[in-house]
Amino acid sequence: MKTIFTLFPEMLNLNGDSANSFVLQKNFEWMGEQAQSVSVATESQLLELLRLVKSSETGIFVTIGHGSAAAMQALAAHDALIRDLLEAIIESKTPAIVVGSALKWANVNAGSKSDRRSEFVVATSSAEDWPSNALGYLNSDLELPPVSVESNVILTLLHGPFFAKNPSWVERVVRLMGAENSSSESKEVADGFVEEIWRLEANH
């Protein structure tokens, strides 16, 4: 059984990023693999997840989405614990995705700001073994690359949700979680829509 943990799925979902776990779970379902989504929304659940990550548990994935200013303020009490968790995730090479305002918990310089960009972008990534580009909606003034990878953690400013529009990244994550990618009619239908989205948005 694969397990996808989502931190504060209600609060860190301003731009729909919690659906990254839904998309990942659905892809497992389409390939006949059992997967479950687990919400992490209390301190004890954060501590339990930290324990799992530190024990290098395989078959798990962690998603942390972008939250509103109000949500980020409300979660400030958990800042230290979430930072510890992300550090452990990076160290243990646990696959994860961190989006938008949640990058403040990752060890990246999210302090610098530039002019806000609100547009679809095709971002390039030079991370070895990962796809070379990704499509998503950039709505940020953070001076960071739209997508990068540290250890097995996808650090991105792209909404969409990221996984829905970038199936090749899902395939990489599936492999990291110890499963084999396989095709299905449902996946082919989804891939067909994604192809059209790339055609429209990448040239928009």
């Binding site: 659906a19 200013a69 109000a70 409300a74 949700p161 829509f193 989205i197």
Partner: protein, 423 residues
């Protein structure tokens, strides 16, 4: 004194020329031209109404609330100038001026009651202090423009602070209660929905969470005390009244009570309960808010969705299982990510999925196991296929669309007269 007739002439010629080329078009560009060559005309026009300017703003419900408020005030014999429901940004106001102003740049009427987009209300109220402001709600809406609900709340607080008369606020949105704390010099009046009515709604009113300890609900002057289908009852210290809403849904009941209380504030002692009830009961559905139209001789329900909140409320309020449904998400949805925050479990199937964002919509529906028929970004082809389907055995055809898809579809169907969007 500045003479505005040359600028109006240029705007009117532009409007005529555009309409010759493009049937049903021609309202946006002339407004833009007028705003560039005579920006001051807007403030002159809106500052010229003897009873002042009334603003209705917030994330959702502006059109319906404004229409209801205008109906009530007009029923009391007051001449009202208002804006078409599709023209609630500054450029739209300029377009309305081209249509309505006389050559000296004036529009007849005793009061201007306008719905205003949140950001444009802030910009406009900097130059003209409104007499009265009604703030309906703050939702997670148009994040590509507004970025964060807290920024929207800050803009709306500024608008409310600038009212020289009454400020009307939603008692059931924590955001508007925070705004109430920022209003100085005026005691806000509150409208709302009784907890027993709200409790019967699965997902409430879809306001943006503040994640702060809840502020206590203030005493309302008027509230929705009962809701049964389209039948709504409003009550307060003044008594109670009931009438039929133009469409089903608690959000329409909220619009009605907001309009009712706004009218009570504006009309003061001249307010007549019977006239207000009559006016509310006679409000037809606002353009595409649960509006029933005839296409090829059959009834079609048009439902406009503009943000996660309105999408959720409208999907939750679908009656039964619509036998034939077209789902269209257009270019106005710049960032379709929010489509993934909606629960589609009430949407059992979609016959046609279309609009510029057809494939974005199709992807989210596919992931949510909603069976679909035709998927195409060619809206005309989609409309032709959908309206060629035989009449449903039960109920009527249903169209759920975003604003851009709505405009394009109406034009494709020949509903191009600008009067169709007039109040």
């Amino acid at each position: 004194m500045i003479r505005y007739w040359p600028a109006l002439l240029v705007g009117r010629i532009a409007r005529i020329l555009i309409r010759l080329v493009r049937k049903g078009g021609g309202s946006a560009l002339p407004g833009l031209i007028l705003s560039k060559i005579a920006p001051g005309i807007l403030y002159r026009v809106l500052g010229s109404f003897p009873k002042g300017l009334v603003i209705v703003t917030g994330s959702a419900g502006k059109s319906t609330t404004t229409k209801m408020l205008v109906n009530i005030v007009r029923e009391h014999g007051v001449a009202v100038f208002t804006n078409p429901s599709t023209a609630n940004i500054l450029q739209g106001f300029y377009s309305t001026i081209i249509e309505r102003a006389n050559w000296s740049g004036k529009i007849s009427g005793q009061v201007a009651i306008l719905e205003m987009d949140e950001a444009h209300a802030e910009e406009l109220s900097r130059k003209i202090a409104p007499l009265q402001v009604t703030v309906l709600n703050v939702m997670e809406d148009q994040l590509d423009r507004f970025v964060d609900p807290a920024l929207v709340r800050a803009d709306l607080a500024l608008v409310a602070q600038r009212a020289s008369g009454d400020v009307l606020l939603n008692a059931d949105d924590q955001n508007t209660l925070l705004i109430a704390n920022e209003v100085r010099g005026v005691q806000p009046r509150f409208f709302g929905v009784a907890s027993k009515v709200l409790g019967a709604q699965g997902r409430g009113l879809q306001n943006a969470p503040t994640y702060l300890p809840d502020l206590p609900r203030p005493q309302t002057s008027s509230e929705v005390s009962r809701l049964d289908g389209v039948r709504a009852e409003l009550s307060g210290a003044w008594g109670k009244t009931d009438f039929d809403l133009p469409s089903r849904g608690v959000h329409f009941a909220l619009d009605a009570v907001a309009a009712f209380e706004s009218a009570r504030a504006f009309l003061g002692e001249g307010f007549d309960l019977q006239l207000a009830t009559k006016a509310l009961g006679e409000v037809p559905p606002v353009f595409a808010r649960g509006e029933m139209v005839q296409v090829n001789g059959e009834d079609v329900e048009f439902i406009l969705v503009q943000n996660p909140g309105s999408m959720q409320l409208n999907l939750d309020n679908l009656v039964g299982e619509p036998e034939q449904l077209l789902f269209a998400i257009g270019r106005d949805v710049h960032d379709p990510s929010w489509l993934w925050t909606v629960d589609y479990s009430n949407l059992k199937h979609v016959d046609v999925c279309t609009g510029f964002n057809a494939y974005e919509a199709a992807l989210v529906l596919h992931y949510n196991d909603v069976p679909m028929g035709l998927v195409t970004d060619d809206l005309e082809r989609a409309a032709t296929a959908f309206f060629a389907m035989p009449k449903p055995k039960t109920g009527h055809k249903t169209v759920v669309f975003s604003a851009d898809a709505m405009r394009r579809m109406r034009r494709a169907l020949g509903f191009w007269s600008p009067e169709e969007v007039e109040r």
